[in-house]
Symmetry: C2
Subunit: 358 residues, 2 copies
């Protein structure tokens, strides 16, 4: 038997509900694939703020760093919205990314045939969309210095941030993206604003240089404003997209919404080595928390990404992905993806159905 | 008779074709409303590069500065794509914005009932969309200093830019947006990334402060990643959006594409005083340049914005807007908005039909 330790960070709102379900799926799949998981639950986000006064306690970070992989539910809620910056749940998430050095955020956006009607896009535009956004996650304007508040030469208050990328940061995220594109349809679109920003000019130059290591991948470049349009106009043109932290934040969310089912979408954040961070892309949905209404499939699919990208257990990952498809084919739907003719279930029941399909 | 001087900047690609049509519309409307225009054509963009070696010659800028309003066609093309930054057509556009101090970019995105099928969004999602993005245009990361290339403490090459906003810059764009929202449906949504960026925290603070001057306008705040999603999910929720330069670049283009007819969309860029800059949002479309295929309606509607926002000639502006609607109602369509049952026309013929409708 192989043994892996997983740090679970249930977080806030619907986080604990979806994590419980995903944990059960991991356990069952593990038992079938000869994998034993040890799970350790740690507080994070608002839950950690209430318990310890900080959004990412040291014990949580060091447990995560020692684990083989980290599975996060969701963080945040109205309760902590007015907190000062260093006491916001989101700040804990940024600290976790930094602490785990997970610089590569993988955000697949797939329109499943079963759910094509959930998209607000016309059927012929939405069907068959299958893209992944590779977002740089530990650099750029999110972490760049100098940053802060001050006054300018006219004595007016200012707020400022620095968008900065180094060759090293660009090269490593480019390589991750080329590797992924190579295993997909071999097309990589790098998104930047090189007609205006120096940081983007260096980005384009380095991505173009790295392309010579991947002659089998076709590289194209697109400005971010155009990319935001093309995702709406004809999303099927995209295979793999690579972009910086802030553009990736915007475009990966736009791409998710194009699928119409953000309750279905997982994500993975990977570093050079060390544990990866896996989480559904949806938020903590405080309005439905504790009501057994959440869709656990995004977290279950995040557990599949954990197996595939985090532990190299592709067979176990496929088992989960197939079980999710089978559950959808058998007509089970949570409220967010429900359409007439299907069977409406809650979070727990959806989890049980997935277990049956495993 | 009132007299106005208009600087025309035809630019590149389809720019000259659409400007010619819009000029004829302005002339006719002027003669009916007792307005006399004097037009001065000046080179700009690639055309100026070929002629003078720079994308915005001094004569062009000073002519624009002396005019009552400036109407731009489109700039750019493959030919100049590999130019160094200071010799790119786009750089000329940034210099023009800076030179005219037009800090407020107004980008309406309206789904006309006649063209609802052009949208890739489902009919019930697209119909009735009527929003405007107010983008800050002369600040933020586009112009912030320091910017450039260098090396970091590890000796790696870096590229960097500064996102910076002052209270003065935020206050004045906020006031423009509140004024516009007040004349529309009274709802202003300010978009930022205040959960991460200090520049956005100051933005949110100042927009909130300015709101007290506009008790009749309802202010809300949204993070930029969420805004990118909501534009796809339910665009009708938006009335007026105000945001910074780079987020506005991305979101205004996304909003445009949601209408499905970017050949229809105008824009206005306004300063404290002095001439405004008016231009269609579409590009120079080099692939169809010179073929009489371009849709001139975006430029004609930009001329309407010029009359309304630039010269305060609301009656003349309405005349143009009504003429465009009437022409669509009579079934005339250029290729980009054509659907069966309508009459396919070229750029010139579309212009002639609009003249008939004036
Ligand atoms: C919560 C926030 C700081 C975060 C980000 O902007 O990275 C979120 O939007 C995300 O994309 O995971
Ligand atoms: C051409 C480019 C510099 C420009 C911008 O980013 O502002 C364009 O995209 C626009 O939105 O007008």
């Amino acid at each position: 038997t192989k043994r892996y330790s997983i740090t679970l960070l249930p977080g806030d709102g619907i986080g604990p509900e979806v994590i419980t379900v995903a944990k059960n799926v991991l356990k069952l799949v593990g038992s079938l694939e000869g994998i034993e998981f040890s799970f350790q639950e740690m507080p994070m986000g608002g839950a950690a703020l209430d318990l310890t006064g900080v959004p990412l306690p040291e014990e949580t970070l060091s447990a995560a760093q020692r684990a083989d992989a980290v599975l996060l539910g969701a963080i945040g809620g109205y309760k902590w919205d007015k907190n000062e910056k260093h006491l916001k749940p989101e700040t804990g998430l940024l600290q976790l990314r930094e602490g785990l050095k997970v610089f590569a955020n993988l955000r697949p956006a797939t329109v499943l045939p079963q759910l094509v009607d959930s998209s607000t896009l016309k059927k012929d535009v939405a069907e068959g969309v299958d893209l992944i956004v590779v977002r740089e996650l530990t650099g750029g304007i999110y972490f760049g210095k100098p940053r802060g508040f001050g006054t300018n030469e006219k004595g007016e208050d200012i707020g400022f941030n620095t968008e900065v990328y180094s060759t090293h940061e660009i090269d490593r995220i480019a390589r991750v993206a080329f590797e992924i594109a190579r295993k997909r349809r071999g097309q990589l679109c790098s998104v930047d604003k090189a007609n205006v920003l120096e940081a983007s000019m260096l980005w384009r130059k380095r991505v173009t240089a790295i392309a010579s290591e991947y002659p089998d991948v076709e590289l194209s470049h697109m400005y971010v404003d155009n990319a935001a349009m093309q995702l709406v106009r004809y999303p099927k043109q995209f295979d793999t997209i690579v972009t910086n932290n802030i553009f990736g934040d915007i475009l990966s969310d736009e791409a998710s919404m194009i699928t119409g089912s953000i309750g279905m979408l997982p994500s993975a954040s990977l570093g050079e080595s060390g544990p990866g961070l896996f989480e559904p892309i949806h938020g903590s949905a405080p309005d439905i928390a504790g009501q057994d209404k959440a869709n656990p499939l995004a977290t279950i699919l995040s557990a599949a990404m954990l197996l595939k990208y985090g532990l190299g257990e592709a067979n176990a990952a496929n088992r989960i992905e197939n079980a999710v498809l089978d559950t959808l084919n058998r007509g089970f739907r949570t409220g967010d993806i429900y359409s007439t003719g299907n069977k409406l279930v809650g979070c727990k029941e959806m989890g049980e159905e997935v277990l049956k399909s495993v």
